[in-house]
Amino acid sequence: MKAGFVRELLGRSDYAIIGEIVEPGTKVLDLGCGEGELLEWLASNKGVDARGVEISGAKVQKAIARGVSVFQCDIDEGLADYPDQAFDYVILSQTLQETRHPRKVLREMLRVGQRAIVAFPNFGHWRVRLSMLFSGRAPRTSLFPYEWYESPNIHFLTVHDFEALAALESLVVERRYFLAGHRKVEWQPNLLAEVAVFLVSRG
């Protein structure tokens, strides 16, 4: 990967990476899809068959109103009904750290989909480390802006943590992207990347 800038997609650089990864005409499931913006973009620009899962009823309403097939459900339980290998890609964007059973979710993603695209904020970023080191309190940064008692994040992970879990699950990391703002990070991603995007499969 060449050093460089990533143009935003829908105001987010991780979406730009995901938009680049997803092949046209495929079947895509987005977990925690919010108001369905990414799915709508993928449907109209890549011709994908787009589906989504979202827990918030208000967001599901907005997603359906924009024409995306979304159903209201908890990610931790919501995949069980799907048959094996129903999708080409299962996307989990900025949500893995909010799930109750991340390892189970990852397994389920690769049961119902050929490939999983996982984007998450990197808890190993130097600013997070410094915040913790100097304040002695649960870190608060632009990536992790919440007070600990208000945070939706319940499982913090770093780039190395995800690589370790992927190895433990014998996953093939097909591609990995690291971002700091709009810049791609090539060197020391565990320290310098704010967001990581992994494309993994069972090989």
């Binding site: 599901v60 997603a63 359906i64 159903f71 009904d81």
Partner: protein, 368 residues
């Protein structure tokens, strides 16, 4: 928008009970214009006590349709874009052949000699109506409550004819509780001395029984919250209890009024036949499982339930959604927050409008 009722007659229809009924008339209304490709047709399906007059102002009665807030220019079912059809169900009493229709063999109303019909029979007759328009595929079939059950039957029975289905506040089969409420209604009618084994058409109809049946129905259509909000314990036109059995409470007055008015627009025998059809409805019949019943459908689904609907609770919609997901069908589902109970699909339509509009627009685009 002034609308006129139409009627079409068919020689006969084959019924699920093995018999044939004929001739059969269907009362229907249409709104909007069928496009040249005949690809913008939507069938809207009425609930238990509804009729073909779904939208606009009736040229005959001056009244708005039962889903006039959802169907019309710029509304959820946008008649500037779509051609919407609604017909009265088989067994009904609002223009389509039912127990109050004359049996040509005897010259008398069918009454209880009318065959017991099913949701499948109702939908088969609707299919005949659609065929008569030369429409091969419906952009959507949609309805609430019993209308949602018909939408599901459409998707399962005529998979090649249904591009999308929108079952709202519906179920794939009646639960024991739902059957129980219907049975109370039927028993109220049949216990009325005026019922006369259903042969009341030339005399006083079982108005008291039918009114009681309707009162029970109305309770099930509301929620605890909506009744508290609408009536509370307020007394009707008095400061103190009457210490008698006349109307004391607002809620009593409301139910009595609704019951007594229902008699003017609904036939007691139709009440029996249509509730029975709902009770018999079970999409899994002959298929074993729900997923198998929906195996052949390629339709997109938008499933909507309401948080306060205890008559057709969300879990029933979710069973449907899970079965569709297990076959990887294209399904969108949301439970809307509403206090109006089962009636929500008729009265609380702001969010429902956004959902249906967006779903139909994307379905129409994909289908072109």
């Amino acid at each position: 928008m002034i609308v006129e009722a139409n009627t079409v007659r068919f020689d006969s229809i084959a019924l699920d009970n093995g018999t044939t009924l004929g001739p059969v008339e269907v009362a229907y209304e249409t709104y909007g214009v069928l496009n040249a490709a005949r690809s913008n047709a939507i069938v809207v399906l009425h609930a238990f006590s509804g009729d073909a007059h779904a939208a606009g102002i009736s040229g005959e009665t001056g009244k708005p349709g039962w889903w006039d807030n959802m169907i019309g220019p710029g509304k959820a079912f946008d008649t500037n874009k779509y051609f919407v059809i609604c017909s009265n169900v088989l067994g009904g009493c609002r223009g389509t052949t039912g127990p109050s229709s004359l049996n040509p063999a005897t010259g008398c109303p069918y009454a209880m000699s009318f065959p017991v019909i099913t949701i499948g029979d109702m939908v088969r007759l609707q299919k005949m109506l659609i065929d008569s328009f030369g429409i091969r595929r419906l952009l959507s079939v949609s309805g609430g409550s019993m209308g949602g059950m018909q939408a599901l039957e459409w998707a399962a029975a005529y998979p090649e004819s249904v591009v999308s289905a929108i079952p709202i506040a519906a179920t794939t089969r009646h639960s024991a509780q739902q059957i129980a409420f219907n049975e109370v209604g039927r028993q109220a009618i049949m216990a009325d001395p005026d019922f006369s084994e259903g042969n009341y058409y030339d005399k006083q109809p079982p108005a008291r029984g039918l009114a009681v049946a309707r009162m029970v129905g109305h309770i099930t259509y509301m929620s605890d919250d909506s009744m508290r909000e609408k009536f509370g314990r307020r007394l009707r036109g008095k400061e103190n209890f009457s210490f008698g059995f006349d109307v004391d409470f607002e809620v009593e007055s409301y139910l009595r009024y609704r019951g007594s008015q229902f008699v003017y627009r609904f036939d007691a025998n139709s009440y029996l036949y249509i509730t029975k059809a709902m009770d018999y409805f079970d999409l899994t019949n002959g298929h074993g499982t729900l997923a198998a019943a929906l195996e052949k459908t390629q339709a997109r689904f938008l499933v909507i339930s309401f948080s306060s609907d205890w008559l057709y609770p969300s879990y029933q919609s979710q069973e449907l959604v899970r079965a569709l997901r297990s076959r990887n069908r294209d399904v969108a589902y949301v439970e809307l927050q509403s206090n109006y109970g089962h009636d929500s699909f008729l009265v609380d339509v702001v969010e429902q409008t956004d959902l249906v509009r967006g779903f139909l627009a994307s379905t129409f685009e994909k289908a072109q």
